[in-house]
Amino acid sequence: MHKKIPSIGPIMLTQLDNGASARVAELKGGRQFVGRLEAMGIVPGTTITKSSSSIMKGPVVLKKGSTQIAIGYAMAQRIMVEQNKPNP
């Protein structure tokens, strides 16, 4: 929906295009939320790839290294990512 906005600041993982990679900027959530992502290596500064999303606000599948994880839509909204700026 908001995909096409040429954002400069961080966007929600749900707004990232499928197949695109981005750097994790911030994890907006409680200890448990951050803890579970941290255990999988998803911490601010690391690069993740969004593999796919589902219709009707279904889960988002992301890839970190060779690990693939499916997370709920609401959780994906709380992962803020920054896309690498294309080289001029």
């Binding site: 999988m40 589902s54 994880i69 609401a74 959780m75």
Partner: protein, 572 residues
């Protein structure tokens, strides 16, 4: 005796390593959370006795679920840790490894799935890893039984490794270790990886899910029916039955003879331990049990279940759950006990209770389903479909209701998707054999006890007494013969016999629908009841059981009333 604990991320093959070392067969599968409790086995090496513990998988030393807590406790209690690591996914696995090393216990790292690193274009320098971590590193391929002896031999050399200096950023240390020990070649996507991507695609996933479910049902029925009609049925009728009847003819004492083979020849009417009991267990249930677990085992080992969880997530959100609950529900199509245990990986108590209710209500367990199908098909296919649709509908209604009345936020899906793996036929058959043996061990004693109880009740005219007391109520409320009361007593022991015992009543199709729905829901079988109590505590377990019972009585009486009204309208 030294206590050795197998600790590692979920789905790295700990149970397989466990079963290779101890020779104890345990169920393993290609998804996170197959093992939810600690298992103990013993083995001898160089004359020393060791105790080996299998544990649920952990991503870090932080407990999120009940299954995590069990593994954390084991880490504290054991003498040596064998850290099982997925060699194809070293980076993520090292997070736990470094945390374990910081604990300071003697440790061995087991690089499992070593055989798969080649296909995936990964080359690992295990000597360099050994040096960087300061602990022995042993490559293994547990699925091929390679490296297991070397692993056991290395246990003597287990040592505490190099602790991270304080204030080091763990993930950056992992990054530097990975760049020192791992080289990745670029290579083309394999067919299985392409399939993996397709089954996650919004449309592709849905298509696969529908295809997978329908072909599974089709094949379960095809193989099951084939076995009933062409193998188990004829064997029973032509060989077993005549033999056992003539053999028991020599047994003195009419009462004993009746217990063993009953009074009539129809194996569904006689209620002899050796006739009806064997007929139910081996001819009516076993074929479906075999075909269901054969296909289910394949899906499990292939790694499909977590993908299905992703596809079903949106739907499960409507009943206050998320996709991960679909795994216990699928398991529940086979047997409720492992399904209820599988809810241990769920984090909140609320989603646990909701999932357990769904597990118990959405469909009967496999032996009961097999009986409902066998008896129901004597009426019509529609009768069977009606029963299963009503059960599914009721369970969804119940969960929607529970979701409304219980407080708390719906949890979110968080599940690792394993790579698809072609199942090893050997391991698949091993698992099938394990499940079949478990079934046979349980079914015969309980059926025997059930038949003895019903004969004793009959002998002392207790059935007549019970029927007199509550029979009228059953007839008025449910429209069923009063004598069914005795069957209800036995349903507690085993749910498949409770349906089988309906056969002599010559019920009408409608009565059979009502009776089946009531028998599936009214009370959990003894094994599931104890599992519920163990998992939730007596009070909550009884609340769940009571809620389901109320639902059973209401639904069956409403159904009876509906049928009556329908007839009344037809009369006019």
């Amino acid at each position: 005796m030294k206590k050795i604990a197998l600790i590692g991320n979920p789905n790295v093959g700990k149970s397989l390593v466990f079963s290779r070392i101890t020779g104890i067969a345990v169920v393993s599968a290609n998804y996170v959370g197959t093992t939810v409790g600690v298992k103990i086995g013993r083995f001898k090496f160089h004359g020393d006795d060791y105790e080996l513990f299998d544990s649920p998988g952990l991503y870090s030393l932080e407990a999120f679920s009940k299954a995590d807590e069990a593994a954390l406790k084991l880490i504290e209690d054991c003498d040596i840790i064998v850290n099982v690591v997925d060699a194809t996914n070293l980076e993520r696995n090292l997070n736990l490894t470094l945390q374990l090393i910081d604990k300071g216990k003697p440790l061995v790292v087991c690089l499992n799935f070593w055989d798969e690193t080649k296909h995936k274009g990964i080359s690992l320098d295990e000597k360099a890893l050994d040096a960087l971590l300061g602990v022995p590193v042993v490559p293994t391929s547990a699925n091929k039984n390679e490296g297991i002896t070397a692993l056991v031999e290395t246990l003597e050399n287990a040592r505490s490794g190099k602790r991270s200096p304080p204030d080091t950023d763990r993930w950056s240390r992992i990054g530097s270790i990975i760049s020192a020990v791992q080289k990745m070649e670029h290579r083309h996507h394999t067919l299985l990886e392409r399939l993996g991507d397709f089954t996650l695609h919004p449309v592709g996933g849905l298509i696969t899910a529908i295809l997978a479910l329908f072909s599974t049902f089709f094949l379960v029925r095809l193989i099951g029916e084939g076995l009933v009609n062409h193998l188990c049925g004829p064997l029973f009728a032509r060989l077993y039955d005549p033999f056992i009847l003539s053999a028991v003819g020599h047994v003195p004492g009419a009462f004993i003879r009746d217990l063993l083979v009953g009074r009539t020849l129809d194996p569904l009417q006689s209620f002899g331990i050796l006739t009806t009991g064997v007929y139910i267990a081996l001819v009516l249930v076993f074929p479906y049990f075999f075909s269901f677990y054969l296909l289910f085992g394949f899906l499990e080992d292939f790694g499909y279940l977590p993908r299905l969880a992703v596809v079903l997530d949106t739907f499960f959100h409507r009943i206050g759950l998320h996709g991960e609950s679909s795994i216990p529900v699928m398991l529940g199509l086979g047997c409720k006990v492992p399904a209820l245990l599988a809810t241990r990986v769920l984090i909140s108590r609320r989603e646990k209770i909701l999932t357990m209710t769904l597990v118990m209500m959405s469909a009967p367990c496999l032996p009961q389903s097999a009986m409902i199908i066998s008896l129901g098909l004597r009426y019509s296919v529609g009768t069977v479909i009606t029963i299963f649709s009503i059960l599914l509908g009721l369970s969804l209604f119940m969960n929607t209701l529970l979701n409304k009345v219980t407080k708390g936020d719906p949890a979110e899906l968080f599940i690792e998707l394993p790579s698809y793996r072609l199942p090893s036929p050997k391991l698949l058959l091993k698992k099938l054999r394990l499940r079949i043996l478990d079934y046979l061990r349980e079914v015969f004693p309980l059926i025997a006890v059930g038949v003895v109880i019903i004969n004793i009740l009959d002998f002392f005219k207790i059935i007549g007494f019970i029927s007199n007391k509550v029979g009228g109520l059953i007839t008025t409320v449910l429209g069923l013969p009063g004598d069914i009361a005795s069957v209800m007593v036995l349903g507690f022991l085993r749910k498949d016999i409770s349906i089988a015992l309906l056969a002599p009543f010559n019920l009408s199709a409608r009565q059979f629908i009502i009776a089946s729905i009531f028998m599936v829901l009214y009370i959990p079988c003894i094994a599931s009841l104890f599992t519920l109590i163990k998992e939730l505590g007596a009070f909550s377990a009884l609340k769940v059981v009571a809620a389901v019972l109320v639902c059973a009585v209401t639904a069956s009486s409403v159904l009876h009333l509906g049928f009556l009204l329908w007839d009344g309208m037809g009369m006019r």
